[in-house]
Amino acid sequence: MKKLLLTGIIVCLTLLVLLSPLAGCAPKPKAEPTKVLKVGMMTPTTGAAAEKGRVMGHANLDAIQYINSELGGVAGHPIEVLWLDSAYDAAKVVTIVKRFMDEGCLLFTTASSKEMSAAMEIANEAGFPGIACFSSPVLYRPPKHIYGQTPDYGDDALAFANFYLKNIWKGKSGKPKFALHLLNNPTGYGARDAFKAKADELGIEIVSIDEHTATTTSEIESLTRIKAKNPDVLFISSTPAPTAVIIKNAYELGMYPGVTIGCAHASFTKALIDIAGAKIVEGVYGTFPTVLWGENVPGMAKMTEYCKKLHPEDYGNMDYITSWAQSLIVAEILKLAVKNAGYDALAKGNPTSWKIVETQGFHKLKKYDVEGLQGPVTYTPGDNRLTKYNRIYQIVNGQIANPSEWVEAPLVEYEKYPWFGK
């Protein structure tokens, strides 16, 4: 029995090892008669960020299915997706982006800033355009071939600051005092850089900048120091669990209610309310780049229908909206490229096609409304953020509610500051 099992395992593994490289030598299938438009999408479906990546992958593919089956594809050409699991692993991302280029994809998308960080150097060098969902300024400052689908972590900070000055601070004299509590990675550093660059211009005084880790369990010590500086605002740019710890600790120290708390979009989800408790986070503000589930916008009904039909367990998850919107933007870019340059110019999926997709697709985006699901999408020369708008929400009765109008985050040319990226 043991020998049989061992032989079986060895045969299976040997076949896997021998056949996998042969796939690379296999003749490429001839072009489909339907003339597809091929795009590469990667999501961290396994690995450390799987709980987000899995939902985002579902949304990406559900939206493409909707586009192909109900909208007839893009200008009559179905979108073919090469969807791969990055496992949130940089080495895998490097191999995946090369595969996207090899297989004639016209552009690619990522679902996390880590994935795009690993892919951007290779993509930029080849001129292969990519769209990052959840982005940080380092991905596209200075702008090259990587674009941000949603406002980045720096934009969150500035959008919230603008909102605060206009709606909460209004009429008071002097500068409001901001204390920053930041996750020690690009999620936090994006906000730090934004305030560093624009605090004086906005008329804000930064009284303290503290960092925390993703696994923090207590921030009593840092918050005690912050409390002594008597800030008007505590801005947190982090993920849900550490943000919940910070708000709970602020509550325990008697800082909150009192101080205004603002959160960046990476943490502002239902998970924050679940972890911290509805009573503790009542009244907390947060930014988010999309509308809420159930809002009355043109794209909501179809997205909800597909989500409930194909992945009902994802209903209510804000990441689903973000990635659904990402696929809609991909389709719009391809539509513009086909309209302006014709399908034949894109058919080869080579560097020439990539350039056409950028110049005739990305660069022609103008006030595309993404069916109302996120802020309008416009390309502005020198600014690779496709959306510049965030909304500010507030937690009321345990729900994310009170959406503001779309708040524009100004362009910050970070590369002009000597400290950027160092």
Partner: protein
């Protein structure tokens, strides 16, 4: 050493040769032809996987010298790779040092750090030594994350492609030749090291350190030498990874990677030259297989419970390691040896 039926050696040189028969030379020639022509028929994607395998082979050949030959357990190998990766990134990117010099410096830096963290091996072994090497993993990554002015901290840093004089290894085929050449040199070095006085000392230390010491083997020297060589090769692998991936972040060198490397050495075959190659090829291709399978499963069975596919990778790797530990603890290399012995004796059964 086993030779095919009817083959005899008549002098010491031919007895010690790595390639001893015409078949050996023929197969070696075919392998060279295969490697040198691979970029003609492999896509960039498959070349990138081959490059990743090559880098992994270099790293775990070092780990195999440390664990497989000298018996010193290390669970901080990814940390040592990080040390090499950041050394070359800083030297080439910020100080303008040529690639070859920085590659050597990367190896030396990782080797010296390895000696520092290997010092406890003089006093402790087994699980206790494993814990001290885990400390290396955490300390190295902590330093990288917090030495922001040099390493870019949590944000990470860009790395230019490797170049020698004006020749840049900026395409996948060029990187393939560079990485394969270095991997071949490393494997050749490991093969010869194992047959040398040093290699025999390592094996003696591994098998019974007390007996080795009684025979006159300097335990401190040879244990630290093993750490130096193992970590030197990890540093070289890290440097090649940096120039291949073009962007470094400490998240690329995790404790999970260190454990995976140990798994590769075990599956390939501890204490053999071919083991690291077989282990790296198997696990890296398995990872690619899982990358294909996950989206297919997600698409075909949309009703799978949430979280099922997310756990496929860890489940498969765990299962493979468990099965090997139970059914073939000496790894694929041992199976390969049995297979060679069988076909050399064929048609005789003994």
């Amino acid at each position: 050493m086993d030779l095919p039926c009817g083959t005899r050696n008549f002098d010491y040189a031919s007895d010690m040769a790595v390639l001893r028969t015409r078949t050996h030379w023929g197969l070696f020639f075919l392998l060279l032809v295969f490697i040198f022509t691979a970029p003609l028929y492999w896509s960039n994607y498959w070349l990138s996987i081959a490059n990743l395998i090559g880098i992994t082979v270099i790293a775990i050949t070092g780990l195999n010298i440390l664990i497989g030959y000298c018996g010193q357990l290390s669970i901080g190998h990814a940390g040592f790779m990080a040390a090499g990766a950041y050394t070359t990134a800083v030297l080439t990117g910020k100080l303008g040092i040529p690639f070859l010099a920085s590659l050597l410096c990367a190896g030396l830096t990782a080797g010296i750090i390895g000696i520092v963290f290997g010092l406890p091996s003089v006093r402790v072994k087994g699980f206790y030594l494993a814990i001290t090497t885990i400390a290396a993993q955490f300390i190295i990554i902590w330093v990288i994350n917090h030495w922001t002015s040099v390493t870019g901290g949590f944000v990470g840093m860009k790395v230019a492609p490797a170049s020698i004089a004006s020749f840049s290894f900026n395409t996948e085929p060029r990187q393939f030749y560079l990485i394969m050449a270095i991997a071949a040199l490393v494997v050749f070095f490991a093969k010869n090291l194992a047959r040398s006085r040093v290699g025999r000392a390592f094996i003696a230390v591994r098998d019974n350190d007390l007996a080795a010491e009684v025979m006159g083997i300097n335990l401190t020297y040879y244990k630290l030498l093993a750490f130096f060589i193992g970590c030197f090769l990890a540093g070289i692998a890290g440097a090649l990874f940096a120039h291949w991936s073009r962007f470094l972040n400490a998240e690329n060198f995790t404790l999970a990677d260190s454990i995976l490397y140990i798994g590769m050495v075990i599956i390939g075959g501890l204490g053999t030259t071919i083991g690291p190659i077989l282990g790296a090829v198997l696990i890296r291709l398995l990872q690619q297989g899982i990358m294909y399978i996950t989206p297919v499963l997600e698409g075909t069975f949309p009703t799978l419970p949430a979280g099922f596919t997310t756990g496929i990778g860890p489940m498969v790797f765990g299962l493979v390691i468990i099965l090997f530990l139970i059914l073939e603890p000496r790894g694929i290399a041992h199976r390969w040896t049995l297979f060679k012995a069988a076909y050399r004796l064929w048609p005789f059964s003994y």
